[in-house]
Subunit: 213 residues, 2 copies
DNA sequence: GACAAGGTCTATGTATACATAACTGCGGCT
DNA sequence: AGCCGCAGTTATGTATACATAGACCTTGTC
């Protein structure tokens, strides 16, 4: 593994997991010492992070971890609804029925994955991730897929902030299942509507959890 | 101006203007000699270009200029319709009426800008650029604006490929005027429809001009 | 004659030394 | 007392030397 990849992965993880708070200044020398690599790979990592929008170059004095305001969350979900709504509609038209029928069935059984044995809900999120990947593959549009990937980085940060509780996850699983079902049925408008509903409820949940910020 | 900015701007311009053909291998030493800077800024420039999608890291053997296939153009316009349609609708709701009324009037007079005195149509494209900027500002959604900016880079490359002729530009000016008018009127659905129409005709024109590729 | 294995070579990946510009603190001026 | 300006310091920006890994060519064998 390249040192720059390591630096990038570590910094990215630290930012997403909120171990590096917004506003934190990431100095090159400081980070190179912390990560045990030289300034060059750190520099490249910070470059990539800034391109993604996780950090911003604060003119001259290092790069700082970007903040996420309530307005940012609204804006992110506005774009998300546009992109994922379109993606769901396209997947309904172009996707393979069998793939989404299986995902539908798995998502209906996802309630069992949400238990106290796995507080981080790794398996549940992995399943949701498979739905995302299936949609990405089904739309066969690399530009749209890329736009959604860019956005997902920021959404993971929001998710960490929102502290999904079990009731919300149970409801979300049902909503995801509805999306998969609509895609499997080849019903584009229904798939888009199901996506809109899901995102609306997700946003409401986030806002209810964090009224301030 | 920083050397890395210079390297980035030069390389980006060369790629967009098709002076660097798709498939061209951009070796670091070679480019650093050509641009008169050291490898470090060239490296950073290539990094940024790859993040934008203008180049791709060809595992081990340098970065190569990405190609644009006919499928790519279809995909780009599919995303573009989604993004710009939404943006136009939002601008109709959130934008300032006066700004778009002025743009509407200017665009109706744009026919005069398309003459033999300016073969590159700088003034015309500047006016269209002002419409884009006005919409960007009106939507007040930095994530959506960022997604559109990312896409526009690639679209400029396609435009250079399509060799816009005077008749198409005259028609496009009218279509742009219709978008501005709908936004000024605060009619979101009409603005979205006008955008869809414009993009459909643009794509048809590009495909008619370049049936192969 | 073709395929595979090894070596060489050339590219990128990394580290570090040096240049330069901006921020900060201090001092003098108004 | 507040502000402007200068210098010191410390950060980033650049260049270059060195490490390393992958690609291509050569050579040997089947």
């Amino acid at each position: 593994m390249r040192a720059s990849d390591k630096a990038y992965a570590t910094l990215r993880e630290d930012i997403i997991e909120w171990r590096l708070a917004p506003g934190t200044v990431l100095a090159e020398v400081e980070q190179s010492e912390r990560l045990g690599v030289s300034r060059t790979p750190v520099r490249e990592a910070l470059s990539r992070l800034s391109a993604e929008g996780l950090t911003t170059a604060a003119g001259g004095r290092g790069v700082v971890v970007t903040d996420i305001s309530l307005e940012d969350i609204d804006e992110m979900f506005e774009l998300r609804e546009t992109l994922e709504g379109k993606a769901a509609a396209l997947a309904a038209v172009r996707g393979e029925r069998a793939v989404f029928e299986k995902l539908h069935a798995d998502l209906l059984r996802a309630q069992e994955l949400i238990n106290d044995a796995d507080p981080a809900r790794h398996e549940y999120y992995a399943l949701v991730g498979r739905l995302d990947e299936a949609i990405d593959a089904a739309i066969s549009n690399s530009y749209l897929a890329q736009a959604m990937r860019s956005l997902r980085v920021h959404l993971v940060r929001v998710r960490r902030l929102a502290a999904d509780d079990a009731p919300r996850l149970h409801a979300a699983a049902v909503e995801h299942a509805a999306i998969a079902e609509a895609i499997a049925a080849g019903n584009a408008r229904l798939a888009e509507a199901a996506t809109t509903m899901h995102l609306h409820r997700s946003l409401s949940h986030v806002k209810a959890t964090h009224p301030h910020h």
